[in-house]
């Protein structure tokens, strides 16, 4: 075991897989010499050489499109897009080809690749550096979308993502890249894709969240506990496939659900989860499932972001509202 940040844990996962599988290549803007702007690929080029870990030209569509070519011809590329706001030049390749090649070729060609990028707000950033576009990717058939909330999960999920034969969108909550430190095994381990984790059991209300919001939820839960409210917290881990069973079981038990996600509220992962609550636990519901979400607005720059970003207090307010319904 050793103490790792999420940055270190993902780096460690990449290191283990690069060592183990010669077909893996890692590339993107600034990932080679610099080791990535967040240092997630630090040291990997020195260890595995420029043929396997390298800087690409500055073109996201090129990065993802070439990765598809590599993936259908025997390699297993892991590509970095520098920020979530810069995934969109690659969106055409992701939507039109990466997600579709396996079906289009009737499984003649699989696309074993991982597209990883930092996402999310709360870091006082410039525009295009604070968004949470998970719903855009989760809506695309043929992709799996993974979001870790701890260093341990990041490592296990990343190794599973790399070993998956399907294309994976791996979204890394940049706000907690270094904010959370945890004992993580240095050995190889995997975590199943598509399975949520019950972070904490409770009886009065279910909170479903993921990524950087787990920590905010835990703070809100501490506030709720003081007023005697028992909260069950589920970390989704995988946005698609979504763990219907774990969510359904929990909502049937508590009768209440709150979804906490920083993306814009309309047409979000929260919307999908409410559909699941209706389908799986309609007769058990004691209050309407609700979302604590970002507004349907652009994430404001630093001075205005405090209004947009979800505080533990706002989560607690919604917990109370649901309980008192």
């Amino acid at each position: 075991m050793s103490v790792m940040t999420m940055v270190k844990a993902i780096n460690n996962a990449l290191d283990i897989k690069l060592e183990e599988d010669k077909d893996i290549v890692v590339y993107g803007e600034d990932v080679g010499v610099e080791g990535g702007v967040f240092r997630v690929t630090e040291g990997l080029q020195q260890k595995y050489g420029v043929e396997r870990v390298f800087d690409s030209p500055l073109a996201e569509s090129g990065i993802v499109g070439t990765a598809l070519g590599m993936a259908v011809s025997g390699l297993r590329p892991i590509v970095e897009l520098q920020f979530e706001g810069f995934t969109f030049p690659a969106f055409n390749q992701i939507l039109s080809n990466v997600s579709r090649m396996q079906n289009r070729s009737r499984k003649k060609y699989g696309v074993p690749m991982v597209i990883r990028f930092p996402y999310g707000g709360g870091v006082n950033a410039l525009e295009h550096h604070s968004d949470s576009p998970e719903a855009l990717f989760a809506h695309i058939p043929g992709l799996k979308v993974v979001i870790p909330s701890t260093p341990h999960d990041a490592k296990g999920l990343m190794i599973s993502a790399i070993e998956s034969n399907d294309p994976i969108i791996f979204m890394e909550p940049k706000r907690i890249y270094r904010a959370i430190k945890q004992e993580v095994s240095e050995e190889k381990f995997t975590l199943p894709l598509g399975k949520a984790r019950v972070v904490q059991e409770g009886t009065d209300i279910t909170i479903v969240a993921f990524g950087a919001m787990i920590r905010e939820c835990q703070r809100a839960i501490a506030m709720a506990q003081e007023t005697g409210i028992s909260v069950e917290l589920i970390d989704l881990r995988s946005i698609y496939p979504i763990d219907r069973e774990t969510v359904g079981n929990s909502v049937r038990k508590t009768g209440r659900m709150l979804i906490v996600a920083e993306a814009h509220q309309s047409f979000s992962v929260g919307s999908e989860l409410i559909a699941i609550a209706n389908e799986e636990a309609f007769l058990y519901l004691e209050a309407p499932p609700r979302r604590v979400a970002g507004f349907d607005t652009i994430v404001p720059l630093a001075q205005g972001e405090k209004y947009y970003i979800i505080s533990p207090e706002r989560i607690f307010y919604e917990i109370e509202k649901s309980i008192k319904f």
Partner: protein, 369 residues
Amino acid sequence: MIQNDLPAIFRDFDPIEDKMLQVIDNEGNVVNEPLMPALEDEIIIDAYKQMLYERLADEMAVSYQRQGRMYTYTPNMGQEAIHIAAGMNIRKEDWVVPAFREMGTLLAKGVTMKEMFLFYLGNEQGGSFKDAYHVLPIAISIGTQFHHATGIGYSVKYRKKDEAVYTFIGDGGTSEGDFSEGLNFAGVWQVPVVFTIQNNQYAISVPVKSQTNSINLAVKSVAFGIPGIKVDGNDFLAMYLVYKTASEYVRSGKGPVLIEAVTYRRGAHTTSDDPSKYRCKDEETLWGLTDPLIRLKRFMQNKGIWQIDEEKLIEEYRLEIDAQFVDAENNKSYPWEEVFENMYTDMPDELERQKMEYAQFLSWKEKRR
């Protein structure tokens, strides 16, 4: 196709031959007398002052960020000759479609340092450049602005306006699809756009040699049937000549041009970046010798027109820039409603509902205190 009546400099400095236009060397000596632009001394003095102002404002911005008084900032140091030469050739009615490292050009168009500071203090009011005529906000999404400039060019041409469009991109940006697409559209439509590549040698950590296998960046114009030219971007007089020529060319309706200004990003990519990870001090020192301010100053000294009391001017500018920063820093006005107000012409009911819910939360929070 490229017209036969192409200005001489575009023929004499054919990017295919990898020639670079230069007027003065690092010592400020004139190396290409016939190209020396006919500028009155006052204009050159003014240019130096503008470059000095940009340099100081930039240094101070980095320093405010280091003091924790400002968020992430993108330094301009070393690229001032391009910005000021462009600014001096851009008229009030012309359009500027920036990338994010053209501060001097923005200032020339009427953007204030207070606005720049406010923007980097995390307030969209600063980045709206609301009083600067025909200036778009900065484009962080790399390369996308090339299309916008081309579209504005079409609009200008369609409306028969006497306006030219100036847009910028970095060396890294030339790898994006939008760079090539934008130039292709501009070539097909023959729009009045001056495209500038500020080749500052690095896209964050990636050197230009890892960005392209082309002999230079100006040569990319050839594929799109657009005149292109490679210029010493740290040579103010060369940049002035090229912008003057390019401006006359596009304004006369002959179509777009592409300028590659060869320069060096003396600072970091942003204040979050650490160049020592990917480049050595020797390289920085070597490029430092080509610094645009030093060169123009030497030229002026050689010519006997250096009449600037620089120390006094620096002190004066610093006080003025600091006052603008403090003014921006004291602007704490960011009402929460503003988050919602600029999204749509008329706020949709759904957004209005979200706003109301947030107001309810705020009043609950207030009562709880």
